[in-house]
């Protein structure tokens, strides 16, 4: 269905028009309705993945009697706290399939949603700093080419051309080359959530914020509804798409998920003029960096080591990340850290996500994206919608929560020690 009928289109012309009335007449990007007693589908979690799931249920399957319920504010979890990297240069086939689906959807997402999510395919490099890493990335390039993911191996000279501020000749870990995905990049994370929310709302879906799930009701092994702080809501199908809090929700439904919740931290520098157009990941020394459109250097590293729901991390991880990046980009030594923050990521046994049916009929789960969820949002929503609407999806086939029982892992640590 067309989303443009229901809402005023955004454009430069619209801005000029509204400027005449001092912008007093813009309409709400999304409605804030009270919940109805029953929906065909209820999605728990109005982050990027939950909203995208709802969007593609409507767009691809015509299912619009949908509520997306959110205990805080939409996009307030990991969607709004990540380092906005988009790539699909994964080694294993199932991963490459869903991340490339996502990346290709990002290409047209602004136009599709009529909301500028600022997808910027500025190019992404994963540096190889040991011979072992060189072999791993070369292998990834071969795998990617067979998977339809455009990546290439580049030599140090080309790395330097793409990243003039890089130090190729560190005394400990000289740069030996890089895995390069020219159409990888970044997008504006909040805008992804807002754009999906606006489009969902325009299709008549209800986005209900400040609404916490307190219980999950099922009858005869089938889910029938949820209890929330805004009352009971019945549903035909239920999707749990709540990242770090998935275990808590699964517990309400009476099953356990193979995930653990850990803190992941990130930080930004003060803004400076443009100096790095690409995204650089340095896995041997454990850090990655890009420059936002505002000019901040956006920096991330690995996860903390223990179960944690506080959205705060330990400072020594920040130290390790900054050290690694000063080795790689000496000039950042004279920049200042403006802000650091943390999010809660849900890690599975093989660090790959779960998009799966569950022991409860009509209850589906989408979680376990670990440190790499943002880049997957459109593909995850697309695949989850297919799974919920049709009962199966080739994109989710391998991501069942039962794969661990069979010993059938999707292990990406093979190619990249550091997540993201």
């Amino acid at each position: 269905m067309s989303i443009t009928r229901a809402m005023k289109r955004y454009s430069a012309f619209a801005i000029a028009r509204e400027a005449m009335s001092y912008h007093q007449n813009w309409e709400e990007a999304w409605r804030s309705p009270a919940p109805k007693p029953k929906y065909d589908v209820v999605i728990v979690g109005a982050g990027g993945h939950g909203l995208a799931t709802a969007y593609y249920l409507g767009k691809n399957y015509g299912i619009t009697n949908v509520a997306v319920i959110e205990k805080g504010w939409l996009g307030g979890g990991n969607t709004g706290r990540n380092t906005t990297i988009i790539r699909s240069n994964y080694l294993q086939d199932p991963s490459a399939a869903i991340y490339e689906k996502a990346r290709s959807l990002f290409e047209d997402l602004s136009q599709d949603l009529n909301y500028n999510v600022m997808f910027s395919p500025r190019g992404l490099l994963m540096l190889a700093q040991t011979h072992h890493e060189v072999r791993g990335y070369r292998r990834t390039v071969y795998a990617n080419n067979l998977q339809g993911v455009a990546t290439e191996w580049i030599e140090p000279k080309r790395v330097k051309e793409l990243v003039p501020i890089i130090n190729l000749d560190g005394p400990r870990y000289p740069v030996l080359g890089a895995l390069y995905q020219a159409r990888g990049g970044t997008a504006r994370h909040d805008a992804v959530a807002w754009g999906y929310a606006r489009a969902c709302s325009a299709m008549g879906m209800d986005i209900i914020q400040q609404c916490e799930v307190t219980g999950i009701r099922s009858e005869g092994g089938k889910v029938v509804g949820v209890n929330t702080t805004k009352g009971a809501i019945d549903c035909g199908k239920l999707g749990l798409v709540a990242a770090g809090h998935s275990s808590v929700l699964a517990d309400m439904a009476g099953f356990r998920l193979p995930i653990e919740s850990l803190a992941l931290q990130a930080l930004v520098s003060e803004p400076i003029k443009p100096c790095m157009d690409v995204v650089v990941m340095a896995n041997t020394v454990h850090g990655y960096m890009s420059q936002s459109d505002k000019g901040e250097m956006v920096i991330g590293g690995g996860t903390d080591g223990f179960n944690n729901y506080t959205q705060r991390g330990s400072f020594h991880h920040v130290e390790e990340t900054v050290r690694a990046l000063i080795e790689t980009f000496p000039m950042i030594s004279r920049l200042k850290m403006l802000r650091q923050w943390g999010g809660i990521v849900d890690m599975t046994g093989d660090r790959s996500p779960i998009l799966s049916k569950t022991p409860v009929e009509n209850l589906f789960v989408n979680c376990g994206w670990g440190t790499g969820g943002f880049k997957a949002i459109p593909g995850s929503g697309w695949a989850m919608a297919e799974l919920m609407a049709r009962g199966h999806s080739p994109l989710t086939e391998e991501f069942s929560m039962y794969r661990f029982r069979e010993g059938k892992f999707i292990d990406e640590s093979v190619a990249a020690g550091v997540a993201h």
């Binding site: 809090h245 193979p258 653990e260 223990f306 506080t310 330990s314 599975t348 661990f404 029982r405």
Partner: protein
Amino acid sequence: MLILDCPYCGVKAEETELQAGGEAHLKRYGPGSSDEEFDGYMFMRKNPKGVHFERWRHAYGCGKWFLAARCTATLEVFGTYPAQTSAPPADLQAKIKSKRPNWEGYK
């Protein structure tokens, strides 16, 4: 930046001296166990938002593994105790219960 008391060497150990080891009191399932049992042991870890029992190693200290009862929502530490036990000590459980009356208890 956690601090945990190592029950072996008595040192108030800083997080950078420690290595986290995940859920405590796991029962190992080896050959002869069912797929469900083995899956449960390997992957279906408790992940509570609240009281959690977990393993730590005083890796850059005395090298010993020990166990801790900690709240994952506030990071309060209720106590630490040696690893050579299959359930949390009763006095520690009582202490947690007194601090967290709604705690469902160790299962």
